[in-house]
Amino acid sequence: MHLILFKVAAIFYLISSIIYLTFLLRSKGSRCLSGFAFVTAGLVAHTISIIHLFIAQGYFPMATGFDALSLFAWLIVAIHTILQLRDLNPVLGAMAAPIATVLMFAASTLSYQITQPIVPVLKSWWLPIHVSFALAGNAVFTIMAMAGAMYIFQERLIKKKKIGRFHRILPSLETLDTLNRRALPIGFFLLTLGIISGALWASSAWGSYWDWDPKETWSLITWFAYAAMVHQRLALGWRGKKAAVLALAGFALVMFTFIGVSFLFPGHHSFVSSAYWVVLT
């Protein structure tokens, strides 16, 4: 049941992506309601699917790679939907929907089932707390990077005086920069909570707060990067293009920590010996 809903959600995200992208190519009008309708329908199916999996398994579905990618996609779509409700923008949709689609299809290549008995460490309340914070932080940073990409692209068009007709469907530079300014502290706060909750969980599970496991190390590097960004933005008043470039650079780091580290380095966060792997930031 949850798997059917998951597939329905993935297909809706895919349809929405196609609608959004063709809409951008034709660049007619400034709203794409059908694209938004499909991505929202996908979100509903996705939400029910996750709840259903939770009820079926009896613990938070956050233990496998499947869960992590699925939840990450869910968070991106959810945050995107909140932003869309404030001001429908086809370009934001055209970025969020394809990313969600890719994540969903990546997740579907992994097994959601745990073939071996679940590691006792994962049967803890810390699991949903730690994973939710970490993934929510990542999702906020993803949206921020999308805004940054739009900012850089549009800024270039305006500077070069090659306005074309594409600018009509992009939000104003001011809107995009405001998004960056508001999202940065929120994402940073969530990332901080993710790391702290991880440390507390580690302490209760293994008796030590910090083990310099690769994921922990890279998370800390990411944390410092975003801390620097917050400082530049708030204290030095960096804005506009610089802030947008930083958002993209930070996102690359986030993605490496999220996915790259799990493949490259074994550690607490990747239970590589079993049929599943955990990608906790």
């Binding site: 009008g29 500077k159 306005i163 074309g164």
Partner: protein, 447 residues
């Protein structure tokens, strides 16, 4: 119904066919109550009539009995009303009939015939003309339907094409760009340096959106004061330029200075002071007021008049492409509308045909009443059903024969043929035809 005799007619002059001198002679300023339309509708053979009068066009949209003679009669009437020589204005008039007239009205209402392609006012002007003349009782079922289809077409064009999306004047482009850079402009600050027609026009468009009073700097303070009173802005002297640049969000510069008044080095300092808060600078002056290198500074978006004009040209090109799409929508709607008017021509004949068959059926059943007396109610019911089915089957042939005529465009021949074969002349009202003997349609039920 249109029958064979009623037709749509559009005649008029517009910015393409007539110079201003002629256009102003044939405008209809005193027609707020539709009284002039009422005068025109009294013209011989004119059945319904609307006057559309804007600064770029004066048009009569009418339903007439004879398009050719009515057109000349109407032009005579117009020259009488305006007291101008008919021969003087006649060459500037275009006359369109039937589908061409319908297409013309649809194009005008969709703003495809406007001086500025896609400008939004025209549909409102047509609506107002229609409302006024409908209130003056000069319209009837045909024009009512025609105008509603015109508004529907205009709406389709607006929503299905991008014809009205892009700005096509320098001032509008400037405001659009300001919005693109700065978002909402209400609480932004505008600064006007110098004066000049284009600069003032742009400032006027800008102050429509910007709620804060515009700051105005001029080399002579008196001139700044004069402009400030026009714009309800605040005048400042040239010494305040640096400070004004630090706080303004949109700058329009148009002085007669020979050397740039805003240099790169000065602007660099200003931007540092602004912490690179974005600023949109419009340089309308020739020679330039602002050094072009300023555009390289982070957060500065500098456009000169040529840059803005290039955007305008590009947008106009885009509107032309969209106008082609719009043309296809208009064609579709004209075809639909003409099909509808054609259906008016066979509709009465279909009604007459059915009435005639029903009459025959009732007559024949009444004749047989004596023999059928012994039948039960249920059996009588069956006979009713049976006879109705028979006449429906028979009627089907001629009806579809007439409907098919839409494709072959021989509607009148087909309708006429059906009327003659079934002797429907007495049933169809309003057709002029010589009396022919109604054939005897007694159907022999005994066989």
């Amino acid at each position: 119904m249109t029958g064979e005799t009623q037709d749509f007619l559009v005649l008029g002059i517009n910015h393409n066919t007539a110079p201003v001198l002629i256009r102003e002679k044939v405008s209809f300023p005193g027609n707020q109550d539709g009284s002039i339309t009422r005068l025109l509708v009294q013209t011989q053979d004119v059945v319904e009539c609307i006057i559309l009068s804007t600064c770029n066009r004066s048009e009569i949209i009418a339903v007439v009995a004879d398009a050719d003679s009515s057109a000349e009669n109407l032009i005579n009437r117009i020259s009488e009303i305006h007291g101008v020589n008919r021969e003087l204005i006649r060459p500037y008039f275009y006359v369109k009939k039937g589908p061409e007239a319908v297409e013309h009205l649809f194009r005008v209402t969709s703003s495809l015939d406007s001086m500025v392609l896609g400008e939004p006012q025209i549909v409102g002007q047509v609506k107002e003309a229609f409302r006024r003349d409908a209130a003056a009782n000069t319209t009837g079922p045909l024009l009512n339907r025609l105008l509603h289809r015109a508004f529907f077409t205009a709406k389709r064009v607006r929503t299905e094409t991008g014809i009205a999306l892009s700005a096509v004047s320098v001032a509008y482009v400037a405001v659009e760009l300001a919005k693109k850079i700065l978002g909402k402009l209400e609480q932004r600050e505008a600064l006007l340096i110098g004066a000049g027609e284009m600069a003032e026009l742009t400032a006027r468009h800008l102050t429509n959106v910007v709620k804060k009073p515009i700051r105005i700097i001029n080399r002579t303070f008196e001139n700044a004061c004069i402009l400030a009173s026009q714009f309800e802005g605040s005048p400042e002297s040239m010494e305040n330029l640096g400070e004004a640049l630090s706080s303004a969000d949109v700058v329009i510069s148009s002085t007669g200075s020979c050397d740039p008044i805003i240099q790169f080095s000065q602007m660099k300092t200003v931007m540092r002071r602004r912490r690179h808060r974005p600023i949109f600078m419009i340089d309308i002056a020739i020679p330039r007021d602002i050094e072009p290198e300023v555009n390289d500074l982070d957060g500065v978006y500098l456009y000169n008049i040529d840059d803005l004009q290039a955007v305008v040209d590009e947008n106009i090109g885009e509107r032309r492409i969209e106008a082609q799409k719009a043309g296809r929508i208009v064609d579709q709607e004209v075809r639909k509308f003409m099909n509808w008017t054609t259906s008016l021509e066979w509709a009465p004949t279909i009604v007459a045909l059915k009435e005639k068959f029903e009459e025959i059926r009732i007559n024949e059943i009444t004749k047989m009443n004596g023999k059928l007396g012994s039948l039960s109610a249920a059996e009588r019911e069956s006979i009713e059903i049976l006879t109705k089915a028979i006449i429906n089957k028979i009627a089907h042939g001629p009806i579809s024969f007439m409907k098919q005529s839409i494709k072959t465009k021989k509607i009148n021949q087909h309708v006429d043929f059906v009327q003659r074969v079934f002797g429907l002349d007495e049933f169809v009202s309003g057709t002029e035809r010589e009396e022919i003997e109604t054939p005897n349609y007694e159907i022999d039920h005994r066989n």
